[in-house]
Protein backbone atom coordinates (compact mmCIF):
# COMPACT_ATOMS: atom_id res chain seq x y z
CA UNK A 1 0.00 0.00 0.00
CA UNK A 2 3.00 2.32 0.36
CA UNK A 3 2.66 3.66 -3.17
CA UNK A 4 -0.97 4.50 -2.51
CA UNK A 5 -0.14 6.22 0.77
CA UNK A 6 2.47 8.24 -1.06
CA UNK A 7 -0.11 9.24 -3.65
CA UNK A 8 -2.58 10.20 -0.92
CA UNK A 9 0.09 12.26 0.78
CA UNK A 10 0.98 14.11 -2.39
CA UNK A 11 -2.70 14.65 -3.11
CA UNK A 12 -3.40 15.98 0.39
CA UNK A 13 -0.48 18.39 -0.03
CA UNK A 14 -2.46 19.85 -2.91
CA UNK A 15 0.06 18.63 -5.47
CA UNK A 16 -0.44 16.72 -8.67
CA UNK A 17 0.26 13.04 -8.24
CA UNK A 18 3.08 12.62 -10.75
CA UNK A 19 6.15 10.40 -10.89
CA UNK A 20 8.47 12.95 -9.39
CA UNK A 21 6.33 13.82 -6.40
CA UNK A 22 5.56 10.21 -5.57
CA UNK A 23 9.21 9.22 -5.85
CA UNK A 24 10.28 12.05 -3.56
CA UNK A 25 7.87 10.93 -0.86
CA UNK A 26 8.75 7.26 -1.13
CA UNK A 27 12.47 8.05 -0.97
CA UNK A 28 11.96 10.22 2.09
CA UNK A 29 10.31 7.24 3.76
CA UNK A 30 13.41 5.21 2.95
CA UNK A 31 11.71 3.05 0.35
CA UNK A 32 13.73 1.86 -2.66
CA UNK A 33 11.61 3.17 -5.51
CA UNK A 34 10.49 0.86 -8.29
CA UNK A 35 10.16 3.13 -11.32
CA UNK A 36 7.70 0.92 -13.15
CA UNK A 37 5.37 0.72 -10.15
CA UNK A 38 5.41 4.51 -9.84
CA UNK A 39 4.59 4.77 -13.55
CA UNK A 40 1.78 2.26 -13.16
CA UNK A 41 0.37 4.14 -10.15
CA UNK A 42 0.41 7.50 -11.89
CA UNK A 43 -1.20 5.98 -14.97
CA UNK A 44 -3.88 4.26 -12.85
CA UNK A 45 -4.74 7.47 -11.05
CA UNK A 46 -4.90 9.52 -14.21
CA UNK A 47 -8.46 10.80 -14.50
CA UNK A 48 -9.45 9.49 -11.07
CA UNK A 49 -11.22 11.92 -8.75
CA UNK A 50 -9.23 11.06 -5.63
CA UNK A 51 -11.49 13.07 -3.29
CA UNK A 52 -14.53 11.18 -4.46
CA UNK A 53 -12.81 7.81 -4.35
CA UNK A 54 -11.75 8.20 -0.72
CA UNK A 55 -14.81 10.07 0.50
CA UNK A 56 -16.82 6.89 0.99
CA UNK A 57 -14.26 5.18 3.16
CA UNK A 58 -15.46 5.37 6.75
CA UNK A 59 -13.43 4.07 9.63
CA UNK A 60 -14.11 0.53 10.71
CA UNK A 61 -16.03 0.01 13.92
CA UNK A 62 -13.96 0.42 16.97
CA UNK A 63 -13.14 -2.76 18.81
CA UNK A 64 -14.45 -3.04 22.33
CA UNK A 65 -10.93 -3.07 23.75
CA UNK A 66 -10.18 0.21 22.03
CA UNK A 67 -13.54 1.69 22.92
CA UNK A 68 -12.61 1.94 26.56
CA UNK A 69 -9.60 4.07 25.83
Amino acid sequence: MEYIYAALLVHSAGKTVDEESVKAVLSAAGIAVDDSRVKALVAALDGVDIEEAISKAAAAPVAVAAAGA
Binding site: I50, A58, A59, A63
Partner: protein, 281 residues
Protein backbone atom coordinates in the same frame (compact mmCIF):
# COMPACT_ATOMS: atom_id res chain seq x y z
CA UNK B 1 -95.45 10.99 24.60
CA UNK B 2 -98.63 9.12 23.99
CA UNK B 3 -99.25 10.82 20.68
CA UNK B 4 -97.38 8.08 18.84
CA UNK B 5 -98.91 5.15 20.64
CA UNK B 6 -102.45 6.01 21.61
CA UNK B 7 -103.85 4.52 18.44
CA UNK B 8 -101.96 1.23 18.87
CA UNK B 9 -103.52 -1.91 20.30
CA UNK B 10 -102.68 -2.54 23.92
CA UNK B 11 -100.02 -5.26 23.36
CA UNK B 12 -98.22 -3.13 20.83
CA UNK B 13 -98.35 -0.16 23.15
CA UNK B 14 -96.85 -2.30 25.89
CA UNK B 15 -94.07 -3.39 23.56
CA UNK B 16 -93.24 0.21 22.64
CA UNK B 17 -93.33 1.24 26.28
CA UNK B 18 -91.04 -1.61 27.21
CA UNK B 19 -88.49 -0.42 24.62
CA UNK B 20 -88.73 3.15 25.88
CA UNK B 21 -88.38 1.95 29.45
CA UNK B 22 -85.29 -0.16 28.60
CA UNK B 23 -83.79 2.81 26.83
CA UNK B 24 -84.16 4.82 30.00
CA UNK B 25 -82.34 2.18 32.01
CA UNK B 26 -79.28 1.91 29.77
CA UNK B 27 -76.59 4.28 28.59
CA UNK B 28 -76.27 2.62 25.21
CA UNK B 29 -79.16 1.91 22.87
CA UNK B 30 -78.42 0.60 19.46
CA UNK B 31 -79.21 -1.69 16.58
CA UNK B 32 -77.43 -4.91 15.74
CA UNK B 33 -77.54 -6.90 12.54
CA UNK B 34 -78.57 -10.48 13.26
CA UNK B 35 -78.48 -11.64 9.64
CA UNK B 36 -77.57 -15.26 9.09
CA UNK B 37 -77.30 -16.25 12.73
CA UNK B 38 -78.86 -19.68 13.32
CA UNK B 39 -81.34 -19.73 16.21
CA UNK B 40 -79.18 -21.89 18.45
CA UNK B 41 -76.14 -19.68 17.98
CA UNK B 42 -78.27 -16.60 18.57
CA UNK B 43 -79.32 -17.99 21.94
CA UNK B 44 -75.67 -18.74 22.74
CA UNK B 45 -74.60 -15.19 21.93
CA UNK B 46 -77.38 -13.79 24.09
CA UNK B 47 -76.25 -15.95 26.98
CA UNK B 48 -72.61 -14.84 26.46
CA UNK B 49 -73.69 -11.23 26.60
CA UNK B 50 -75.67 -11.77 29.76
CA UNK B 51 -74.91 -9.03 32.21
CA UNK B 52 -73.21 -6.76 29.70
CA UNK B 53 -75.85 -6.32 27.01
CA UNK B 54 -79.46 -7.21 26.27
CA UNK B 55 -80.55 -8.08 22.74
CA UNK B 56 -84.24 -7.70 21.97
CA UNK B 57 -85.99 -8.63 18.77
CA UNK B 58 -89.03 -6.48 18.10
CA UNK B 59 -91.18 -5.51 15.16
CA UNK B 60 -89.58 -2.74 13.21
CA UNK B 61 -92.70 -0.60 13.21
CA UNK B 62 -92.79 -0.74 16.99
CA UNK B 63 -89.06 -0.02 17.23
CA UNK B 64 -89.61 3.03 15.07
CA UNK B 65 -92.52 4.10 17.27
CA UNK B 66 -90.29 3.82 20.30
CA UNK B 67 -87.42 5.74 18.69
CA UNK B 68 -89.77 8.50 17.61
CA UNK B 69 -91.07 8.72 21.11
CA UNK B 70 -87.55 8.91 22.57
CA UNK B 71 -86.75 11.69 20.10
CA UNK B 72 -83.39 13.38 19.56
CA UNK B 73 -80.72 11.15 18.05
CA UNK B 74 -82.99 8.14 18.42
CA UNK B 75 -84.87 9.41 15.39
CA UNK B 76 -81.61 9.07 13.45
CA UNK B 77 -81.46 5.43 14.51
CA UNK B 78 -84.58 4.83 12.42
CA UNK B 79 -82.44 5.05 9.32
CA UNK B 80 -80.55 1.95 10.46
CA UNK B 81 -83.57 -0.24 11.17
CA UNK B 82 -83.70 -3.16 8.73
CA UNK B 83 -85.40 -6.52 8.35
CA UNK B 84 -82.39 -8.15 10.06
CA UNK B 85 -81.93 -5.66 12.87
CA UNK B 86 -82.53 -6.16 16.57
CA UNK B 87 -82.27 -3.82 19.51
CA UNK B 88 -79.35 -3.86 21.87
CA UNK B 89 -79.19 -2.22 25.30
CA UNK B 90 -75.94 -1.93 27.24
CA UNK B 91 -73.91 0.30 29.49
CA UNK B 92 -70.51 1.92 29.32
CA UNK B 93 -68.07 2.61 26.54
CA UNK B 94 -69.57 2.08 23.05
CA UNK B 95 -66.14 1.23 21.65
CA UNK B 96 -65.80 -1.56 24.18
CA UNK B 97 -69.28 -2.87 23.31
CA UNK B 98 -68.32 -2.94 19.64
CA UNK B 99 -65.12 -4.79 20.46
CA UNK B 100 -66.85 -7.35 22.66
CA UNK B 101 -69.43 -8.04 19.93
CA UNK B 102 -66.64 -8.49 17.38
CA UNK B 103 -64.90 -10.89 19.72
CA UNK B 104 -67.98 -13.11 20.04
CA UNK B 105 -68.19 -13.58 16.28
CA UNK B 106 -67.58 -16.99 14.72
CA UNK B 107 -67.25 -18.06 11.10
CA UNK B 108 -69.62 -19.87 8.74
CA UNK B 109 -69.58 -21.07 5.15
CA UNK B 110 -70.38 -18.58 2.43
CA UNK B 111 -73.54 -18.64 0.34
CA UNK B 112 -73.47 -17.86 -3.37
CA UNK B 113 -73.64 -14.13 -4.02
CA UNK B 114 -72.29 -13.06 -0.64
CA UNK B 115 -69.49 -10.54 -0.40
CA UNK B 116 -66.45 -11.79 1.46
CA UNK B 117 -65.05 -9.36 4.03
CA UNK B 118 -61.57 -10.87 3.71
CA UNK B 119 -59.37 -12.51 1.08
CA UNK B 120 -60.26 -16.18 0.73
CA UNK B 121 -57.02 -18.11 0.39
CA UNK B 122 -56.85 -21.82 -0.35
CA UNK B 123 -53.48 -23.24 0.67
CA UNK B 124 -51.48 -25.67 -1.44
CA UNK B 125 -51.36 -29.23 -0.18
CA UNK B 126 -53.19 -32.53 -0.02
CA UNK B 127 -56.97 -32.73 0.54
CA UNK B 128 -59.06 -35.57 1.90
CA UNK B 129 -60.93 -35.92 -1.43
CA UNK B 130 -60.70 -39.10 -3.45
CA UNK B 131 -60.22 -38.63 -7.22
CA UNK B 132 -63.48 -37.72 -8.94
CA UNK B 133 -65.44 -34.81 -10.32
CA UNK B 134 -64.14 -32.68 -7.43
CA UNK B 135 -60.95 -32.02 -9.42
CA UNK B 136 -62.96 -30.32 -12.14
CA UNK B 137 -65.05 -28.44 -9.60
CA UNK B 138 -61.92 -27.10 -7.94
CA UNK B 139 -60.46 -26.05 -11.24
CA UNK B 140 -63.68 -24.32 -12.30
CA UNK B 141 -63.56 -22.38 -9.04
CA UNK B 142 -60.06 -21.24 -9.96
CA UNK B 143 -58.19 -23.63 -7.69
CA UNK B 144 -55.44 -25.60 -9.50
CA UNK B 145 -55.86 -29.25 -8.44
CA UNK B 146 -54.36 -32.60 -9.47
CA UNK B 147 -54.40 -36.20 -8.36
CA UNK B 148 -51.41 -37.23 -6.33
CA UNK B 149 -51.00 -40.59 -4.59
CA UNK B 150 -54.66 -41.48 -4.84
CA UNK B 151 -55.81 -38.18 -3.33
CA UNK B 152 -56.73 -34.81 -4.72
CA UNK B 153 -54.02 -32.27 -4.15
CA UNK B 154 -54.12 -28.47 -4.47
CA UNK B 155 -51.12 -27.53 -6.53
CA UNK B 156 -50.52 -23.96 -5.35
CA UNK B 157 -51.79 -21.52 -2.76
CA UNK B 158 -54.42 -19.38 -4.39
CA UNK B 159 -56.47 -16.34 -3.43
CA UNK B 160 -59.84 -17.49 -4.73
CA UNK B 161 -61.87 -14.40 -3.91
CA UNK B 162 -60.53 -11.04 -2.89
CA UNK B 163 -61.98 -9.07 0.03
CA UNK B 164 -65.02 -7.06 -1.06
CA UNK B 165 -65.84 -9.34 -4.00
CA UNK B 166 -68.85 -11.58 -4.40
CA UNK B 167 -68.48 -15.33 -4.08
CA UNK B 168 -70.07 -17.19 -7.01
CA UNK B 169 -71.95 -20.45 -6.71
CA UNK B 170 -69.11 -22.70 -7.90
CA UNK B 171 -66.71 -21.06 -5.46
CA UNK B 172 -69.22 -21.23 -2.58
CA UNK B 173 -69.83 -24.96 -3.18
CA UNK B 174 -66.14 -25.83 -3.34
CA UNK B 175 -65.23 -23.67 -0.33
CA UNK B 176 -67.95 -25.39 1.69
CA UNK B 177 -66.53 -28.79 0.68
CA UNK B 178 -63.05 -27.59 1.71
CA UNK B 179 -64.58 -26.49 5.02
CA UNK B 180 -63.40 -22.91 4.49
CA UNK B 181 -65.63 -20.52 6.43
CA UNK B 182 -65.05 -16.94 5.37
CA UNK B 183 -68.26 -15.33 6.66
CA UNK B 184 -68.37 -13.89 10.17
CA UNK B 185 -71.45 -14.80 12.21
CA UNK B 186 -72.52 -12.74 15.13
CA UNK B 187 -74.03 -9.49 16.16
CA UNK B 188 -72.80 -6.55 14.12
CA UNK B 189 -73.40 -3.20 15.68
CA UNK B 190 -75.17 -1.02 13.09
CA UNK B 191 -75.52 2.17 15.12
CA UNK B 192 -75.66 3.12 18.74
CA UNK B 193 -76.79 6.19 20.67
CA UNK B 194 -74.72 7.08 23.68
CA UNK B 195 -74.86 10.28 25.70
CA UNK B 196 -76.76 12.06 23.00
CA UNK B 197 -74.37 11.08 20.21
CA UNK B 198 -74.84 8.54 17.47
CA UNK B 199 -71.88 6.21 16.81
CA UNK B 200 -71.49 4.19 13.61
CA UNK B 201 -69.27 1.14 12.94
CA UNK B 202 -66.71 3.08 10.90
CA UNK B 203 -65.93 5.08 14.04
CA UNK B 204 -66.40 2.23 16.50
CA UNK B 205 -64.07 -0.19 14.77
CA UNK B 206 -60.72 0.42 16.47
CA UNK B 207 -57.46 -0.61 14.88
CA UNK B 208 -55.52 -1.82 17.92
CA UNK B 209 -52.40 -2.32 15.83
CA UNK B 210 -52.47 1.36 14.92
CA UNK B 211 -52.66 2.29 18.58
CA UNK B 212 -49.76 -0.03 19.36
CA UNK B 213 -47.74 1.58 16.59
CA UNK B 214 -48.54 5.02 17.99
CA UNK B 215 -47.43 4.00 21.47
CA UNK B 216 -44.18 2.70 20.04
CA UNK B 217 -43.78 5.95 18.10
CA UNK B 218 -44.48 8.05 21.21
CA UNK B 219 -41.98 6.04 23.23
CA UNK B 220 -39.47 6.49 20.43
CA UNK B 221 -40.10 10.24 20.32
CA UNK B 222 -39.65 10.55 24.06
CA UNK B 223 -36.40 8.60 23.86
CA UNK B 224 -35.18 10.71 20.94
CA UNK B 225 -36.04 13.95 22.71
CA UNK B 226 -34.38 12.81 25.94
CA UNK B 227 -31.19 11.79 24.17
CA UNK B 228 -30.97 14.59 21.61
CA UNK B 229 -31.73 17.36 24.11
CA UNK B 230 -29.67 15.62 26.83
CA UNK B 231 -32.59 15.83 29.25
CA UNK B 232 -31.54 14.27 32.53
CA UNK B 233 -33.80 11.34 33.40
CA UNK B 234 -33.91 8.61 35.99
CA UNK B 235 -33.74 5.99 33.25
CA UNK B 236 -30.22 4.46 33.02
CA UNK B 237 -30.87 3.31 29.47
CA UNK B 238 -31.39 6.94 28.41
CA UNK B 239 -28.34 8.14 30.33
CA UNK B 240 -26.25 5.46 28.63
CA UNK B 241 -27.59 6.53 25.25
CA UNK B 242 -26.72 10.15 26.03
CA UNK B 243 -23.18 9.19 26.99
CA UNK B 244 -22.89 7.01 23.90
CA UNK B 245 -24.05 9.90 21.73
CA UNK B 246 -21.53 12.30 23.25
CA UNK B 247 -18.77 9.73 22.84
CA UNK B 248 -19.73 9.12 19.23
CA UNK B 249 -19.76 12.82 18.55
CA UNK B 250 -16.31 13.17 20.06
CA UNK B 251 -15.04 10.21 18.03
CA UNK B 252 -16.61 11.52 14.87
CA UNK B 253 -14.94 14.88 15.40
CA UNK B 254 -11.68 13.13 16.24
CA UNK B 255 -11.73 11.06 13.06
CA UNK B 256 -13.03 13.81 10.80
CA UNK B 257 -10.59 16.55 11.85
CA UNK B 258 -8.47 14.33 12.40
CA UNK B 259 -7.29 14.79 15.98
CA UNK B 260 -4.44 12.42 16.80
CA UNK B 261 -5.48 11.21 20.24
CA UNK B 262 -5.40 7.75 21.78
CA UNK B 263 -9.16 7.25 21.79
CA UNK B 264 -9.50 7.69 18.04
CA UNK B 265 -6.10 6.85 16.55
CA UNK B 266 -7.08 3.30 15.60
CA UNK B 267 -10.17 4.59 13.85
CA UNK B 268 -8.05 7.14 11.99
CA UNK B 269 -5.66 4.40 10.89
CA UNK B 270 -8.64 2.37 9.81
CA UNK B 271 -10.02 5.26 7.80
CA UNK B 272 -6.67 5.92 6.12
CA UNK B 273 -6.33 2.25 5.27
CA UNK B 274 -9.83 2.15 3.83
CA UNK B 275 -9.18 5.27 1.78
CA UNK B 276 -6.02 3.73 0.41
CA UNK B 277 -7.95 0.57 -0.38
CA UNK B 278 -10.69 2.52 -2.08
CA UNK B 279 -8.13 4.27 -4.24
CA UNK B 280 -6.34 1.03 -5.01
CA UNK B 281 -9.59 -0.41 -6.32
Amino acid sequence: MAIYTHHLPAWKREEVESIVENAGKHELIGLVDVYGIPARQFQQIRRNLHGSAVVKVARNTLVEHAFNELGGHFIDLNGHVSEHSALIFADGNPFKLFKSLEQTKTKRSAKAGEITPEDIVVPAGPTSFKPGPIVGELQQAGIPAAIDGGKVKIKETKTVVKAGQAINKKQADVLAKLDIKPMPVGLSLLAVVYEGEIYLPDVLGIDEEAYKAKITLAAQQVFNLAVNAAVPTSCPFVTEAQIAKAVREARNLGVEAPIYEKGVIEMIISKAYRQANALKA
